[in-house]
């Protein structure tokens, strides 16, 4: 089976690789280029743990082929901050509001929230809540992430 050359900008850096057509973007990120932040929670597009930003939009990397990312910009949770010492403001909000427990679903939530936070016009709390309904969490009962949304939308009032 022939391999395809794939090349795209990942968290600000150009990366490339050779992949089978059937390799998903999620597997490519996790196994071939060392981005283990996005997680496989269901592999059929429902749980949201694999969510990354492609061209600034939140998408399911488990339902994308790696080759479909060719020439695009891809952002994962690893690109949000410079490292564990300096958190992105939304990561900091998650910490303050105890919006994570096991952390498995968290990278997905963060990418969607970052995309929303950048949107013009800025979504209101109800719109943000609606958007986050594409992310499943089993540990927190969503209470912390709802508080994060409150803070994100009240800060800008």
């Amino acid at each position: 089976m022939s391999l395809h050359f794939v090349e795209f900008e990942l968290n600000g850096c150009q990366i490339d690789g050779m992949v089978e057509a059937r390799r998903t973007l999620l597997d490519f990120l996790r196994c071939d280029v060392g981005c283990t932040g996005p997680h496989a929670g269901c592999e059929h597009g429902v749980c949201g743990a694999c969510t990354v930003l492609v061209e600034g939009q939140a998408v399911r990397s488990c339902l994308m082929l790696a080759v479909q990312a060719n020439g695009k910009t891809v952002e994962t949770v690893e690109g949000l901050s410079g490292g564990p010492k300096e958190l992105h403001p939304i990561q900091q909000l998650f910490r303050e509001e105890f919006a994570l427990q096991c952390g498995f679903c968290t990278p997905g939530f963060l990418m969607t929230l970052v995309a929303l936070d950048r949107s013009e016009p800025r979504p209101n709390a109800a719109e943000m809540r609606e958007a986050l309904s594409g992310h499943l969490c089993r540990c927190t009962g969503y209470q912390g992430v709802l508080r994060v949304i409150d803070r994100l939308t009240e800060d800008r009032k």
Binding site: L63, M64, S133
Partner: protein, 323 residues
């Protein structure tokens, strides 16, 4: 997923050429890749059509032409759609999750396959997946299945929301194929199973959806009501799309379409005839429901859809006719 070869088409003609040689088109892939992971779809060759330029939304006379590659998110957010065809926007936003809508396309959404659990299970009998193998749903677990338009061969529903709105809006599907372009009214696009459930729609081999055209805005009151198991991101148990105009206290114009009720997005002119020219009332809505569901047939686990549809219709009409 089984291994496959992948090509990229740089133009609609290149795409058609590849399709003509037996390739399967992939746009966003949110349905196709899911099916391929489960080996329900096993194409040996895919052709990516993302770069074929079919991603514009543009006026078409008084109507609107939405390219096949316009994402669901972009379509729902388009100011023209939201203003003049709000039913379409509502229906799209009621479906899937924002992350899926960012990738799913107009064309792909029209072609999405059923959610029947037996279709999805390659170890179970399913005439839609494998002609002649039987239908495990009829005597099996058929909670989400159709009560209208069924046949002995198949009772699966078309699961999408967007197409239901397009049906109520009298949309037309534009295609290109080996025998030239076609304009297929949405009411004729999806196929009831009949004797051959393997084909969900009337697309011929080698034919590609290029756009969907909406006619001139009706200016009516448009509501999409989706009854589902959960507040968000779930398939419909039943959905109702209405585009209704009142004049002097009577229903002057009414278009109604239903999702997850029939094997295809369902529209019955007889239901609309009951309503047109009448004053709204619970009794009128009940009559309309009776006409809609007169031939409805449950298969056990989906019997509830019949009263549920009647109630949803009544509630939607009440909302649409409220002063």
């Amino acid at each position: 997923m089984k291994p496959f070869a992948l090509d990229h088409a740089a133009s609609p003609d290149a795409a058609l050429a590849a399709l003509g040689k037996g390739a399967t088109a992939i746009a966003g892939g949110t349905n196709l890749i899911d099916l391929m992971k489960l080996q329900i779809a096993t194409p040996e060759r895919l052709v990516s059509i993302r770069r074929t330029g079919l991603d514009r939304i543009a006026p078409d006379g008084d109507g609107l032409r939405i390219g096949a590659l316009v994402t669901n998110a972009d379509c729902a957010a388009d100011p023209r759609v939201r203003q003049d065809w709000p039913l379409l926007s509502q229906a799209i936003l009621a479906g899937a999750s924002p992350q899926l809508r960012n990738r799913a396309t107009t064309g792909g959404n029209l072609c999405q396959r059923t959610r029947c659990g037996y279709f999805y299970d390659t170890t179970q009998a399913c005439n839609k997946r494998e002609a002649g193998s039987g239908c495990a749903a009829r005597d099996g677990f058929n909670r989400i299945h159709a009560v209208l338009g069924t046949s002995d061969a198949c009772i699966a529903t078309y699961p999408g929301d967007m197409a239901v709105a397009l049906l109520a809006l009298d949309a037309v599907v534009l295609t290109q194929g080996p025998y030239g372009p076609r304009q297929i009214p949405l009411a004729m696009f999806h196929r009831e199973p009949g004797d051959d459930p393997t084909r969900d729609n009337v697309l011929q081999p080698g034919e590609l959806i290029t756009a969907v055209r909406l006619p001139a805005p009706t200016g009516g009151r448009q509501i999409y009501r989706k009854v589902r198991d959960r507040a968000s991101y779930a398939f419909a148990l039943v959905s109702v799309a209405v585009d209704l105009t009142m004049e002097e206290g009577r229903i002057a114009r009414c278009a109604l379409a239903f999702g997850s009720l029939g094997t295809v997005p369902w529209r019955d002119p007889a239901v609309e005839e009951v309503l047109i020219g009448q004053e709204p009332s619970p009794a009128l809505f009940a009559r309309a429901a009776e006409v809609l569901l007169h031939h409805a047939r449950g298969f056990g686990a989906n019997d509830f859809k019949i009263p549920l549809a009647a109630r949803a219709l009544a509630a939607t009409l009440a909302q649409a006719t409220k002063v």
